[in-house]
């Protein structure tokens, strides 16, 4: 098996994963609509927070919280990708893939490629919607592109966790039941408020949440202000998460195959 051939396999699986996502209305709701709904609620309900003394000096509250929406999108892209994998296992489609002469790791990476593609589309969509509603991003186009990359890597990282759970359990119901935990991860990171305004407990938790560094990096990039977040720290956190969880998912697949 050569790399070019495996590349084609990954592309084919990624394309399939992405196209199916857009044909399932129940998956579009959490990945595209829900983050925007939460953005609208938070933007209209808590914008007074911008007047607090600890709140950083930013152009607009909407632009400040858009990185939270982008990371929420990445979380949900990862989770729905894991759920789709669990469905493949539960309904037998995964057997079709296992019966093909491809590297087992390509099956995991192909799924992750779909997650990456989904995240790119989500992030572009969220940024455009935010622009339409008046958000301004002083970081410019370069910052937007870097944000898309960061969000994509983060989605792959979160998709790796979901894929590992799917491969370990093969249970769609379990993946669906962990949906609320997405919000635990999101709200233990400074997604919608600066770290300084979090309660001490949340602030301590945020230190250990890799999403903290990603969301702050995106905020710093879009605002063109590295004081809000270091892009390189964010990239390191996202890459670390992606590599670790993809390895975890690959390990879960190997375990699954050994137990057959």
């Amino acid at each position: 098996m050569n790399a070019a051939r495996e590349g084609r396999v990954v592309l084919a699986l990624g394309r399939r994963s992405l196209s199916v996502q857009f044909r399932r209305a129940q998956l579009l709701m959490p990945t595209f609509v829900l983050p925007l709904m939460l953005l609208a609620v938070i933007a209209s309900g808590t914008s007074a927070a911008q007047d607090l003394r600890e709140f950083p000096d930013v152009a607009s509250y909407l632009a400040f919280i858009v990185p939270g929406t982008i990371i929420q999108g990445a979380l949900l892209a990862g989770l729905t990708s894991g759920a789709a994998l669990a469905a493949d296992i539960e309904f037998g489609f995964f057997d079709r893939l296992l019966a093909a002469p491809v590297r087992r790791t390509s099956l995991v990476i192909g799924r992750q490629a779909g997650t990456l593609g989904l995240s790119v589309l989500q992030t572009v969509f969220f940024l455009l919607v935010a622009l339409v509603f008046g958000a301004r991003f002083p970081g410019g186009v370069d910052a937007a592109l870097a944000t898309i990359v960061l969000a994509g890597i983060t989605a792959v990282g979160l998709g790796g966790i979901a894929a590992a759970i799917a491969l370990r359990t093969g249970s769609l119901a379990l993946l669906q039941s962990i949906f609320p935990f997405v919000f635990v991860l999101l709200f233990t990171a400074p997604a919608f408020f600066p770290r300084e305004l979090l309660t001490p407990v949340l602030r301590d938790a945020a230190v250990y949440n890799p999403l903290t560094y990603v969301v702050e990096a995106v905020r710093g990039l879009l605002a063109g202000d590295s004081a809000l977040g270091d892009p390189w720290v964010g990239l390191a956190a996202a890459l670390g998460l992606a590599i670790a969880t993809t390895a975890l998912a690959t390990f879960a697949l190997a375990q699954r195959l050994r137990s057959l």
Binding site: F93, D95, A99, A100, P101, V102
Partner: protein
């Protein structure tokens, strides 16, 4: 059956055991050989171990002990080589309902190393072959059961496999769809593809298979061509109904040279039963012999052993699907 391609078995199974948690042995010491170019029908009721064996042979399940080789490759040690040689259509076609037939075929092509244009061309030719050209760009969720099975078969053929595994390919299909699938399987076999087919339909095994293996409780309890298996449990019987009971003695005497005459049944004084390997071919000689002895015949019926009789003889029970598919061929 087409001409065998080589002397090495397409499928070779030795003392194969697969034990599940709780000590349940789905496959229990199985030995099996399938020749290249053969259609092998694996017959058994639900839970007999058919699907477990197919999953082992297609590398989707590991055996607990024993060995299995497909197309000359060990299913555990050289699983990837096995996967390159086989096509698989599993029970309850696992096809993503949100994808179109064409998309699935192109994806399957990529999984088997076909490049974009080659995968596209192969998809077009296979869609035509299984009669799905018109439905190629419709989502599979809208396909009928028969269309799904045909697509599943096409997916299994993308890389022109040497050995094709079909796990209960016609379960749940209407007679027309079943007949169409049978014709396609025969056609593939004529082109040289070895077919390993599991079924719980006796007629499917009889119509398609060169040889039949009967599995019960994980063990191979009988194996052979359908004719050999049926002959093994007894010769066909001719039931001769006479016009008058008092001619029965003369009839027995007349038929003695044509086969084995069964003892008289006091409950049916006008009936004489003759066992003969000639089956239907014995009808004319029987009529002639009885006529020469002045015996008037009301009717003659031939009773041939069926695979269900064979199944009942070797397992002690009948298959649930027996006789369910008469109209299909």
């Amino acid at each position: 059956m087409s001409v065998p391609q080589s002397s090495a078995p397409a499928v070779e199974v030795r003392e194969l055991v697969r034990e599940y948690k709780g000590g349940i042995r789905a496959v229990d010491g199985l030995d099996l050989d399938v020749a290249p170019g053969e259609i092998y029908g694996f017959l058994g009721p639900n839970g007999a171990g058919k699907t477990t064996l197919v999953r082992i042979l297609t590398t989707l399940l590991r055996p607990t002990s024993g060995t299995a080789r497909v197309a000359g490759h060990d299913v555990v040690a050289h699983a990837d080589a096995v996967r390159r040689s086989i096509g698989v259509a599993l029970q309850e076609a696992a096809i993503d309902p949100l994808m179109t037939g064409r998309e699935l075929l192109r994806m399957q092509g990529a999984l088997h190393g076909l490049r974009g244009s080659a995968a596209q061309e192969r998809a077009v030719s296979l869609l035509e072959r299984v009669g799905l050209t018109q439905a190629a760009d419709r989502r599979v969720g809208g396909y009928s059961g028969g269309m799904r099975r045909r697509l599943d078969l096409a997916l299994a053929l993308v890389h022109r496999p040497n050995v094709l595994f079909l796990d209960e390919p016609t379960t749940g299909l209407d007679p027309t769809s079943r007949g169409a699938l049978w014709r396609e399987v025969r056609s593939l076999n004529d082109e040289g593809t070895t077919v390993f087919l599991t079924t719980q339909y006796l007629e499917e095994a009889e119509q398609l298979a060169d040889r039949v293996g009967i599995i019960a409780a994980g063990r191979l309890v009988a194996e052979g061509t359908p004719d050999v298996l049926k002959a093994r449990i007894g010769e066909p019987m001719l039931h001769v109904e006479l016009a008058e009971a008092d001619s029965a003695g003369r009839a027995r005497e007349a038929l003695g040279g044509l086969g084995k005459v069964e003892p008289a049944d006091p409950g049916a004084p006008t009936r004489v039963v003759l066992r003969t390997a000639a089956g239907k071919g014995a009808i004319a000689p029987v009529i002639r012999a009885l006529d020469e002895h002045g015996v008037v015949v009301e009717s003659v019926e031939v009773e041939t052993p069926t695979l269900d009789d064979v199944f009942a003889a070797v397992t002690g029970s009948h298959l649930e699907g027996a006789g369910a598919v008469e109209a299909a061929a």
